[in-house]
């Protein structure tokens, strides 16, 4: 009741751009001599999507990127959280070190990695060369597979800290008495992890997976800075394509349609995850 005015403002702030974007996606928008001409085209933009090889490529790239990143980020973050929750890892210094990648501004982060990966003076080349792993400087972002792999590496590096902290908070909420009880019940550490930690962490993992999926689908800044979608559109993802279509090709209606597809996919994923991970209630509630 009392939050109603705030919710209303929030709804307007969020709702207007969303509605505007839907409106745009049903138009053919052309920018001519300082003004936009809009022509109603109905579902044309959406139909066009499914015949567009670039879009299909972008969708496939996004799906791959998202899947790999969610799995890796969740696993790595869980491992990091478990280490931080260990008595030896409880010092604040570890958490501060962990949070640094996440605290760096997204574009600065992209630029940082651009330097690291640079094919002429990048530190990665220098390091691997000195270690004798490679015998000549590599263009890391030059081939489709390698470019995708490095985008993943860079984004995972940035995403792990937050998810790890989220899971750490979840771990710390598990009452120690459960572990004592499990120990008394004869559960070894592995069994305690499987039967206590994982089920108790279920909610936190669900949130982590949902957030990371959405963030992975939304990835933009590192692509913009590192590859601009290249080489040969190998790293074009849906968000980047929406941007490129809208602001580079100035095909505003089509760009809005792509953005809305991302919106729908994100919402659907969120709903599916929430459904899947809701604790099942056995028996009747009292």
């Amino acid at each position: 009741m009392f939050v109603a005015p705030a919710l209303l403002v929030l709804a307007l702030m969020l709702g207007y751009p969303i509605l505007q974007s839907w409106w745009l996606s049903f138009q053919r928008v052309q920018l001519q001599a300082g003004r936009a001409s809009e022509t109603w085209t109905g579902l044309d933009n959406y139909i066009r999507l499914f015949a567009d090889a670039t879009f299909l490529q972008a969708a496939a790239n996004s799906a791959l990127f998202c899947l790999v990143e969610v799995v890796l980020v969740t696993l790595i973050a869980l491992a990091v959280a478990l280490l931080l929750n260990h008595p030896l890892g409880r010092g604040g210094i570890w958490k501060i070190m962990l949070i640094i990648p996440w605290a760096i501004a997204p574009v600065a982060h992209g630029v940082l990695w651009k330097w690291i990966l640079n094919s002429n003076y990048g530190i990665l080349n220098g390091l691997l060369m000195q270690l004798g792993v490679i015998d000549s400087y590599q263009v890391w972002l030059g081939s489709p597979v390698s470019a995708m792999a490095f985008l993943l590496l860079v984004d995972i590096w940035k995403s792990v800290p937050f998810i790890a902290l989220l899971l750490l908070a979840g771990l710390q909420r598990i009452p120690q008495s459960l572990y004592r009880a499990a120990y008394m019940d004869g559960a070894r550490p592995g069994a305690a992890f499987r039967h206590i930690t994982l089920p108790q962490l279920r909610g936190a993992i669900a949130i982590a997976v949902i957030l990371q999926t959405i963030w992975s689908l939304r990835v933009f800044d590192i692509i913009f800075v590192l590859t601009s979608g290249g080489p040969a559109d190998a790293t074009v993802m849906m968000n980047f394509m929406a941007y490129r279509t809208t602001f580079n090709f100035l095909d505003i209606g089509y760009g809005a349609a792509i953005a809305n597809v991302i919106f729908i996919v994100t919402v659907l994923l969120a709903i599916i995850y929430i459904r899947l991970l809701q604790p099942r209630e056995p028996g009747a509630a009292k």
């Binding site: 009452p175 008495s177 459960l178 004592r180 009880a181 499990a182 120990y183 008394m184 019940d185 004869g186 559960a187 070894r188 069994a191 039967h195 206590i196 089920p199 108790q200 279920r202 604790p279 209630e281 056995p282 028996g283 509630a285 009292k286």
Partner: protein
């Protein structure tokens, strides 16, 4: 052979000593309670028995074999925790069966034993519920079920009733006592509630500041407290300890306290001039026309008795008078008690110097 034996067991966290030279022998099938206020080391002692807490010094023997470094399952002990520690994501059946599953018991056998235990605890209809869907008493029973399903040699209870309301607590007390009678499993029970300890135990070990003050049957503890601390801690309403000095006149020992001189029992273990503390259990203070004048300072009827606080020439006392005593605040009555009923303690050591001195029990091995 004693089933559990603690020999000079100590526990310290860094320089902080929690338990000090605990010596205790628990016989097979016995129900022993560790009683004390919070921070007295009773739960730590229980955890050391369980294997949840490492023993810093001394030896723990189970069936005569040193067990300091055995894991809980190897010690064959099961524990009921204060907050139950039920697994929130598992149904009642899975909570009870978890320990069997961890031991690789077959699924059919688990189902059979879980059902059997659930029946005996009247949990049969709740097997598919989650702990959050149970009442406090039901959760408590599940916690007990989890302990008994594996048929351990020893049960450990860590203040299991402290989260229950008063009525339920009394009922669960009876249930646990009944369970102990049926299963005959050695049980160690921790509580801070002296009434609970008195009502449930075969023997009680009263702890204070990491040491055992006295071990004995409820009767011994209540009637013959070994120290003034035990005397004050056990019993409701609480006794008030009064100070005085022993005096001898014409072969008769008495204690001088305030303006009064009270005769001491002839077999009191005191010497003239000794500073002592004394008290009388409230139910042994009775109206007596030839007794001591006493001014009523408080009247608390509790149904079966009325606890009357009075001020006498030798200090404040509490008398437990039968039924509803019709007394007014400020009224003067006369109260008396038998010298033999006086609990006497040395003022410096706090040790009993009463007519039948019971030394602070040092439980030893062997024999």
């Amino acid at each position: 052979m004693p089933q559990i034996e603690l020999r000079n067991v100590g526990k310290s966290f860094g320089t902080f000593i929690v338990c000090h030279d605990i010596n205790l022998v628990i016989r097979e099938g016995e129900f022993l309670t560790l009683l004390g206020t919070s921070g007295c080391g009773k739960t730590t002692t229980l955890n050391m028995l369980a294997g949840l807490e490492e023993i810093s010094s001394g030896d723990l023997l189970l069936d005569g074999v040193r067990a300091n470094h055995l894991a809980p399952t190897e010690r064959d002990v099961a524990m009921v925790f204060q907050n139950y520690a039920l697994y929130p994501h598992m149904t009642v059946a899975r909570n009870i069966g978890f320990t069997l599953k961890m031991r690789g018991v077959s699924r059919d056998e688990i189902t059979r034993r879980v059902t059997e235990v659930a029946q005996s605890l009247e949990l049969g209809h709740l097997l598919d519920r989650l702990p959050s869907q149970l009442s406090g008493g039901q959760q408590q029973r599940v916690a007990i079920g989890r302990a008994i399903v594996r048929r351990p040699k020893i049960f450990l209870f860590d203040e299991p009733f402290s989260n229950l309301d008063a009525t339920l607590r009394v009922r669960m007390r009876a249930e646990v006592k009944d369970l102990h009678r049926r299963l005959g499993v050695t049980s160690v029970f921790v509580t801070h509630d002296q009434e609970e300890a008195l009502s449930i135990s075969d023997r009680i070990a009263v702890m204070r500041g990491g040491v055992i003050e006295q071990v004995g049957t409820p009767e011994e503890i209540y009637l013959h407290p070994a120290t003034s601390y035990v005397a004050g801690f056990i019993g409701n309403p609480q006794i008030t300890l009064l100070s005085g000095r022993v005096q001898a006149s014409s072969g008769q020992l008495s204690v001088v306290s305030g303006a009064a001189e009270l005769p001491l029992p002839p077999d009191a273990d005191v010497t003239p001039g000794q500073a002592i503390e004394f008290a009388v259990r409230p139910e042994q203070v009775q109206p007596d026309p030839k007794g001591h004048p006493a001014t009523v300072t408080s009247v608390q009827p509790v149904g079966a008795a009325t606890h009357v606080g009075v001020m006498t020439a030798f200090g404040p006392m509490v008398a437990s008078l039968p039924r509803f005593a019709r007394l007014n605040h400020g009224e003067t009555i006369t109260l008396g008690f038998e010298p033999a009923h006086m609990l006497l303690f040395d003022a410096t050591t706090g040790r009993s110097v009463g007519r039948r001195p019971i030394p602070v029990r040092k439980e030893r091995t062997g024999s």
